[in-house]
Amino acid sequence: MTTSYELASRQLLAPVSIGEQEIDRLLGELCAHQLDYADIYFQASRLEAWTLEDGIVKEGSYNIEQGAGIRANSGEKTGFAYTDDLDFASLLSAAKTSRAIAASGSSVTVPVSLRHQPALYQPVNPLDTISREDKIQLLHEVEEHARAQDPRIQQVIVSLVAAHDSVVVAATDGTLAGDIRPLVRMNVHVIAEQQGRREQGSAGAGGRTTLEFFITGRGLNLAEEASRQALVNLEAVDAPAGLMPVVLGSGWPGVLLHEAVGHGLEGDFNRKGTSVFSGRVGEQVASPLCTVVDDGTLEQRRGSLNMDDEGTQTQQTVLIEKGILKGYMQDKLNARLSGCQSTGNGRRESYAHLPMPRMTNTYMLAGEQEPDEIIASVDKGLYAVNFGGGQVDITSGKFVFSASEAYLIENGKITVPVKGATLIGNGPDVLTMVSMVGNDLALDAGVGVCGKDGQSVPVGIGQPTLKIDELTVGGTA
């Protein structure tokens, strides 16, 4: 079988006459300065997007992004340059610019060699596996299905995105690796109207696969889910305000973990001592019911990668085990400076961005409680099942995440839907207040985007149903 590296280098490097000899020469040029590490990241991506609105597919777009980024590390210093021109002269010029971060001299290098790599997803091009006619038909079917749910559904927008990303990484530590990364996504957004009141609902799904993923009924499910949410929101009353028990549903509510602990456990912040979790490995940071992992090895998941953007194979990293902080997520730079190994979390938005420690799929392992028992244990509180985005200040530990579908729990029973509200907490405290964890672990449907320092990367999140004894709910009532 042809490896991802061979495919990627055939698509990406062969057309511009870059072979291993040219790569060796570029690495050699970098090593003429006193560097600890340097790498070259070649990338070519194609993305196609379609949007259906007002019953017609009125728009489609196609995006090409390609180039190479060259990075040089010396101690804590990084020099970086990139070019969208892949001819050898441009690459050489970028190498000379980035190596200028260190004085001339010599660096230790390891001759590059190919590494074995898993195949968590197929090296396919999802732009091509179904025809444009079929893509358009799929959009129409989903739209009509959403409208058919209820006459109150007024506005329907369906979008479909397919991306194909080829990368090759070569580094002075001997890394030579490549990956072909398919990624697809569908989103359905609806507005329902009843007696002059308008409310929205949305649903999305995706993964590292082809668009056939949505033809098997998943597209129609999204139409049902978005419509259901909008109709629920038509009945929503004002959300409560204040400190109360909160039950979070399984799946997407895992945005809690991403914000409350995930970012704070990234290796760069901890090396610099700027995270509220810095220097706390071995300490209790969550209730003993909580085990949280970051796992880039789940098949076809949006946050999964055969290798990270530094060519390191991804892995399952235990961040918190039974409440004890076990470790951080690392890229090569921060691992070297912290005296540990990369955990395969070195990621970058594109060749024009520097890699840094980023999450892949971050989730909490299942517990033992039935979800019904968890809800029944709450006298008066909030049950939140769908969320929009979140944000964290990793230094103070304060984080927010915003519910888009939530209900009141009264006397152990789910009663009325409430309007969206932001929940706020403190990262190091919130998981210590987890008193029940469900047996229903679910991952999100595959639409997560994480932003850090202006760079966006696809990620996954997940959790079982869980109960937090006290969390501040930002309603108005």
Binding site: T97, I191, V400, S402, T422, I424, T472
Partner: protein, 445 residues
């Protein structure tokens, strides 16, 4: 590396012409092409040492083709002939599959800009990288020496950037202009007891001579960080809220989002049919000045070549005009407002002399200096966000607060605007002083 803006502009304009010609050859009845190229250096110094030096160099070309009322788009970061041909072919193919949209098409020819004044947007900052580093070093040093409680740093960053943007369409429009933008920022941490806080300050300008001094940027980053130490939570309550300029600008941006064409024709706004309606108190006016010399968002024409001009978006509290592109205007049966690509340089007229006066008017309530999360439902205006700031009693700032939320409805918040200060000092293309709002729900302990 050097950047010759005139040569680059001529090169991009010629490229745009070529692509427009190729689009015609492929049978497109109309087409538009935007191209840009920029170049810069970003240096970050942390704890007195260079951390990163990034050399940026970005190119882009966007193509939209029309076959009658069918539309297709494509873009590429690679300006080689092969990539451009691939993008153009894809755009043409997509257009063939897209449905006819009666509103699709180029702007009306008579609305295209006929002349463009020099808006003083191009001031390259040609300093060697060593000098960039020393500026960042001085900025961070000013922050770190401000107070012994400044314990750590996220560094100071100096960025210089210059570029050219060009737009052309098959109506014969083809124009561009160079611009520059430079930024100095600084972010530091403070510790006291078990608490750690972080904040930042920055300055950004078209001309490096208009940047705030490095000492001032560093000092303000440190002041803001120190002022957060000792933060408490509040109990849940309703109270008046004073939004500082850095967060008030976000409220104004949210308001603009609600009167933008895309939200309106999708009926995804809480301000549907608000043209001519009173949405603010009578004393409020919001002004847009796209032709402001040296303005951060200034542009002689919008992103589809339509001439821009100064206007009141709100006068006497009443909405005077929406924020429209040609497409959204046609959807609404209106004329474009020259806002393809967004609003450009907004100001809101203050009705208060000083921040002290606003504090007195607030009396007992919350000053908000930071908000977290997205928390705005544009369809309903429902608003709920994380917040941090200061608690005030009888006009006196008592202590910093954090880990609270503020909630209300944006439509109501605009009506409840009691005062706008003259203390606009936060960098950016939206300039506003602080906003005092009658009351919102604060959720906390």
């Amino acid at each position: 590396m050097s950047f010759d803006a005139n040569a680059k502009q001529a090169q991009l304009q010629s490229l745009v012409d070529t692509v427009l010609k190729h689009a015609r050859e492929k049978g497109a009845s109309a087409a538009e092409v935007a191209a840009n190229s920029s170049h810069g250096i970003t240096a970050t110094v942390r704890l007195g040492e260079v951390e990163t030096i990034e050399n940026t160099s970005d190119n882009g070309l966007g193509i939209t083709v029309y076959y009658g009322q069918r539309k297709g788009s494509a873009s590429t970061s690679d300006l080689s002939d092969g990539a451009i041909d691939e993008a153009l072919t894809a755009a043409c193919d997509i257009a063939k599959y897209a449905a006819e949209d009666p509103c699709a098409g180029l702007p009306d020819e008579n609305l295209l800009a006929k002349e463009w004044p020099d808006l003083d947007l191009y001031h390259p900052w040609q300093i060697p990288v060593e000098e960039t580093i020393s500026i960042a070093t001085a900025c961070e040093a000013a922050a770190r020496s401000y107070d012994p409680r400044i314990s750590n740093s996220d560094g100071a960053t100096v960025n210089q950037d210059e570029g050219v943007g060009v737009y052309g369409n098959s109506l014969g429009f083809n124009a561009g202009y160079p611009s520059s933008r430079h930024t100095i920022s600084c972010s530091v941490l403070a510790s006291e007891n078990d608490e750690m806080q972080r904040d930042y300050w920055y300055s950004t300008a078209r001309d490096s001579r208009d940047l705030e001094s490095v000492e001032s940027i560093g000092r303000r980053a440190a002041e803001r960080t120190i002022s957060r130490l000792g933060a408490r939570k509040l109990s849940t309550r309703s109270a008046p809220i004073l939004f500082k300029p850095e967060v008030a600008a976000g409220l104004l941006r949210n308001f603009i989002g609600a009167i933008s064409g895309g939200s309106l024709y999708r009926k995804s706004s809480f301000l549907l049919d608000s043209l001519g309606q009173q949405v603010f108190p009578e004393w409020v006016s919001v002004h847009e000045d796209p032709l402001k010399p040296g303005g951060l968002a200034s542009a002689p024409f919008d992103s589809e070549g339509v001439a821009t001009s100064a206007r009141d978006i709100v006068a006497d509290g009443v909405i005077q005009g929406y924020v429209l592109s040609s497409y959204s205007a046609r959807r609404l049966g209106m004329e474009t407002t020259g806002n393809a690509g967004g609003v450009r340089n907004l100001t809101i007229t203050p009705n208060t002399e000083s921040f002290e006066e606003m504090l007195a008017a607030l009396d007992t309530g919350l000053i908000v200096t930071e908000m977290m999360g997205q928390g705005l439902n544009m369809v309903t205006g429902d608003y709920s966000r994380g917040a941090a700031g200061f608690w005030v009693e009888k006009g006196e700032i008592l202590y910093p607060v954090e880990e609270i939320t503020i909630a209300g409805n944006l439509g109501q918040m605009l009506k409840d605007l009691l005062a706008v200060g003259n203390d606009a000092d936060y960098p950016g293309s939206i300039q506003t002083g602080s906003w005092l709002i009658r009351a919102m729900m604060i959720a906390g302990e």
